[in-house]
């Protein structure tokens, strides 16, 4: 299982890095998102706030890559006939679809680097990491948590051909609800509990607190708590939706 997972993540990254569209999107998007965050926050005088905005932008990229990039990748697998081969494989579906999501999240790390570089070059954002050890743990924890949240969505992509369109629609609400675009304190209080069950909230907090100071380890712990919950939900959903897909014949486009 672990071997399949590692090979799957490697191949997903290889495929993304060989896609002109994904690479160019990764170069252009950080500028757009960092600019939005920069002018939205109007925080030219606060370097720490700017750095936080850049990190938020990077987590936005990760989520976008998972929900749109990996969702699209799964949709392509259906069109190109590889999805049915993954389903027909002896390993559980989570071992073959999981790497697509985690690989997409890991590709988002490339977005983080580009975002921070653009932030430094265009807006003069200072890049200083308060706790390197916590940052080194927070980053993969964030990738895994966001990837596993994507895996729950992916289980529906296996069954419903149109689910990918709904996935794209989930991109912006998650950015807002998780406090990636602006602080959660600006949103109504009922948004709080929703943000607590979403991985990008804890992933962003963990990375931000590791970089700027704060209790990063508790946020990293929450990343793992939600990751375990997502994995359990994904396993149930994938088993159930695989059975339904075999009954409804939805692995392949008609």
């Amino acid at each position: 299982m672990i071997r399949v997972f590692v090979t799957g993540v490697r191949l997903q990254l290889l495929q993304l890095m060989r896609s002109g569209f994904d690479i160019s999107a990764m170069l252009v998007w950080p500028i757009i998102l960092a600019s939005i965050a920069f002018y939205l926050l109007d925080a030219k005088e606060s370097p720490r706030l700017l750095f936080a905005a850049a990190l938020g932008t990077a987590v936005m990229m990760m989520w976008a890559q998972v929900i749109v990039g990996a969702g699209g990748s799964l949709d392509n697998q259906r069109i190109f006939g590889t999805l049915e081969l993954l389903v027909a494989a002896p390993v559980p579906l989570v071992a073959t679809i999981g790497p697509i999501m985690i690989g997409a999240g890991a590709f988002g790390v490339y977005g983080l680097v580009v975002t921070l570089l653009w932030g430094r070059l265009l807006f003069g954002i200072p890049i200083t990491i308060d706790n390197w050890a916590a940052f080194a743990v927070a980053l993969p924890s964030c990738v895994i948590a966001i990837g596993l949240l994507g895996l729950i969505a992916a289980s529906t992509f296996v069954l419903y051909r149109s689910a990918f369109a709904l996935g794209i629609a989930m991109q912006y609400p998650v950015w807002i609800v998780c406090g990636l675009l602006f602080p959660l304190s600006l949103l109504p209080s009922w948004v709080g509990p929703i943000s607590w069950v979403l991985a990008p909230t804890w992933g962003f907090r963990a990375i931000r607190e590791a970089a700027l100071g704060g209790s990063a380890w508790s946020s990293i712990g929450m990343c793992w708590v939600v990751s375990i919950a997502y994995l359990a939900i994904s396993l149930v959903c994938l088993t159930y939706f695989e059975r339904l897909a075999r009954a409804r014949a939805s692995f392949r486009l008609a």
């Binding site: 071997r3 399949v4 090979t7 799957g8 191949l11 290889l14 495929q15 060989r18 896609s19 190109f80 006939g81 590889t82 049915e84 081969l85 993954l86 389903v87 027909a88 494989a89 002896p90 390993v91 071992a95 073959t96 059975r243 075999r246 009954a247 409804r248 014949a249 692995f251 008609a254």
Partner: protein, 322 residues
């Protein structure tokens, strides 16, 4: 010992008639299919497009659930024992699909070797061996998107053989291949049969089934309309002759006139290059060349050939009757 046993297999596809209305459209893809395949046999499933060949294969390879009926593959139920079964069967389909184009052939094989649980100690050796078997040695590090259709198909076969399955399913493997590529692929399939593999092959190329298969079943409209050795199917129509007339523009009324002639069993047409070839099957003893030419009076006629029936004639007749 039967490796595959299928009894009264049925599959109904249901789809919505409209996004906004509640109506459901039902298509009965399989209407009670039954057959069995013995150990080491190369069994052909022949039929026109939409006959139910791929649906049958997808049920047997665990990708689809049957609506009713019973299937046993290697003694397991593909509907409920799919996890155990998947590591013992291989599935290869024709066409351009089923590979990661941006990756090299080698990366594709490495990935699928892990997915199909090839032990890590055997992985490299197995991949090397298969690259030699399918003739892709030296091209394995190139991206699949640069491969010709024949190379892709050979890579498909290598992928399907990675875990050394006991039973192989080939779904129209030569579709879209040039004659040389198709011949090489048939040689590979024949080699697998000689190596003792049990194979289920679907095709709509009759000569392919005739050349490769020990037994065939003809499926049409979701039903098996005949099964047996290719020679037995040919024998069913061997009494009589076939007249092929090369024409240039024959209308339906003239074809009806041919069908009405005494001794004519069936009339069909097919396009070959610029010509429309009328194929007339006659009963034994009937001398039809003159009456047929008379019925086609006024039509530009090219070559006229009278010959023995082939498996293709048997197939056309069986499908037409269905």
């Amino acid at each position: 010992m039967a490796v595959v046993e299928v009894e009264d297999l049925r599959r109904v596809y249901r789809s919505r008639t409209s996004t906004f209305k509640r109506g459901l459209k039902e298509v009965e893809a399989l209407r009670g299919v039954s057959f069995s395949i013995e150990q080491g046999e190369l069994f052909g499933l022949l039929g026109p497009n939409g006959a139910g060949k791929t649906t049958t294969i997808k049920i047997l390879t665990t990708l689809l659930l049957p609506t009713s009926g019973r299937a046993r593959v290697l003694g397991l139920d593909p509907a409920t024992q799919h996890r155990e079964l998947r590591s013992r069967i291989g599935y290869v389909f024709g066409g351009d699909r089923g590979l990661y184009d941006r990756l090299s052939g080698l990366d594709n094989l490495k990935f699928f070797a892990d997915v199909y649980r090839v032990p890590i100690r055997e992985k490299s050796h197995r991949i090397e061996e298969l690259l030699d078997t399918v003739g892709l040695r030296g091209r394995e590090r190139e991206r699949v998107e640069t491969y010709s259709r024949g190379m892709r198909q050979r890579l498909h076969i290598a992928r399907g053989l990675l875990h050394d399955p006991e039973l192989l399913f080939f779904d129209e493997p030569t579709i879209g291949l040039d004659p040389v590529g198709a011949r090489e692929l048939r040689q590979t399939v024949a080699g697998l049969r000689e190596a003792g593999k049990t194979i289920l092959l679907t095709t709509h190329y009759m000569f392919e089934a005739d050349e490769l298969c020990g037994r065939v079943a003809v499926i049409a409209g979701g039903r098996i309309v005949a099964q047996g050795k290719p020679s037995e199917l040919k024998a069913a129509v061997s009494e009589g002759t076939v007249v092929e007339i090369e024409t240039y523009g024959v209308d339906e009324s003239r074809l009806d006139r041919l069908r009405a002639l005494d001794g004519v069993k069936s009339v069909s047409t097919e396009t070959r290059d610029q010509a429309q070839v009328v194929i007339v099957q006659a009963t034994a003893g009937a001398s039809l060349v003159q009456p047929v030419l008379a019925a086609l009076d006024g039509v530009t006629i090219g070559k006229v050939v009278s010959r023995e029936p082939t498996l293709e004639d048997a197939y056309v007749e069986l499908v037409r009757e269905a």
